[in-house]
Assembly symmetry: C2
Homo-oligomer: 281 residues x 2
């Protein structure tokens, strides 16, 4: 199978590495606005050739879009305009309602499969790509009934090759769930970093004292705005909804401390501990 990867960054690069390793991809075309990323991806053998979008589309069985969600939404209709009925297009974006809506009435809508691999790191660029990234993680396919059967099967095969377990979901539901499970984590992490940077003026002290717990909680705060502003923008209503809930949960801790109600504080913590039972199933 010949594959075009639009966006040879962390996600596109990681997918490419794994698909080559598994023998699924015979040849991978890399398409990217950044010549630097294309050259790095070539050097790292993530892609076999750097081409322009039109050339890549004409010569691939499968086109994988792995760029920020606002750019993905813009490029998808253009790609669908150019493909034949034998080609498949998939995306990898963290929001789904917007992109699905953008091609709702496109005559070749059925060639597109909306996909979201639930993995990422705070790093970006082809140098950060890791072939085993997706193993054991969830791969979500949205609105599968809007995709042609053979296109859906192609993408399911890709997800299985990435060793992901598949979940099927409505795009709107997906965006609600990811607001809780993924997007809010980034906001709390960003806000935590800003809190510490605001309060702790002595950078050396942060560096010296930083424990594994702090590093873990603040890790996502290293994630770039190029990727995350478009996600928050596209999922604004859901993210605001969860953010309001989160602020109200923090206020409960504040109130427990202010009132020195330590039984209540214990109750709040014990409730949070339930996440262990859910995550460590």
């Amino acid at each position: 199978m010949k594959i075009s990867i639009v966006g040879v960054g962390l996600i596109g690069g990681s997918i490419a590495l794994k698909l080559k390793q598994k023998g699924i991809a015979d040849f991978i075309y890399g398409i990217d606005n950044s010549t630097e990323h294309l050259n790095e991806a070539l050097e790292l053998k993530i892609i076999d050739a750097k081409v322009d979008l039109e050339y890549g589309i004409k010569n691939s069985d499968l086109i994988i879009i792995a760029i920020p969600v606002d750019a993905a939404r813009k490029i998808l209709p253009q790609i669908l305009d150019l493909i034949s009925e034998n080609q498949t297009v998939m995306d990898t974006g963290s929001t789904k309602a917007g992109i699905v809506h953008s091609v709702k009435d496109h005559p070749k809508r059925s060639r597109f499969v909306a996909f979201h691999p639930m993995w990422g790191t705070e790093n970006s660029g082809p140098k950060s790509a890791i072939s085993d990234s997706f193993s054991g993680k969830a791969g979500v396919i949205c609105n599968k009934e809007e995709s042609a059967e053979d296109a859906l099967k192609s993408v399911e095969k890709i997800a299985e090759s990435l060793d992901m377990h598949l979940i099927y979901m409505n795009a709107e539901d997906h965006d609600v769930h990811t607001a809780y499970i993924s997007h809010i984590s980034h906001i709390t992490s960003y806000a935590l970093a800003n809190t510490v940077l605001e309060k702790e003026r002595e950078e050396e002290t942060i560096f010296q004292l930083a424990s594994s717990g702090f590093s873990s909680t603040v890790r996502l705060a290293k994630s770039h705005p190029e990727m995350w502003v478009p996600i928050f923008k596209q999922n604004k209503e859901n993210v605001l909804d969860v953010l309001n809930e989160h602020i109200s949960q923090l206020r409960k801790f504040k109130s427990a401390l202010e009132k020195e109600n330590y039984d209540y504080l214990e109750e709040l913590i014990s409730n949070a501990n339930k996440i262990r039972g859910i995550l460590d199933k």
Copy 2:
């Protein structure tokens, strides 16, 4: 050197393992309210004998207190009452002003060294102990001028044997810094877990969708209230101060989203990204 470990849990157990491995401890007495933990620690060869507090104190060169900070504050004066001028006592608690204050006027104050190893996990009990836990992490010694020179040297040697780098600090400053670097991370993590548990009623969905990012941010929410309620209690003012700042930082994200001011959102995220330069020095 003979050592008594009061509290053979995650921290006490990890210290014991490392000090044995390094040949610093010839014999380790374990003291704990939980017979189960004592038996586990014996089985895991974390301790050599389980004894009562008086016996342990009488027969040790060094006594290491590794129990929740409220209990540590209570037991320290009792231990100091029982020791001779040749023995040293150290603690490992996450708050320092309270415990230092509790023995301020004790005739044997100089035999105590206030210590805080900046490491921990969301797990507890001797089964969670790991000998290499502390390597490369900061070990903070507070109010060193209140400790006798030989007692201080003993504890410095312990910290070096744990492969920690030493930092000296005033107890009040320590509690301010740890509120930023460690305590607030736990509150945000607990509140995030409660947010998700409140909003996401379908546990199966949390489990299926949980990405590495979410797991990382919510990891600390598994930490037990027995340890953390006393920390928040003892460091109430500092924690409230940081919590207020954190809520106000989250409100900035909320405002940026509500007003669709994506330039401001980008600015907030770019600022948070600075944490990368500080943590990855």
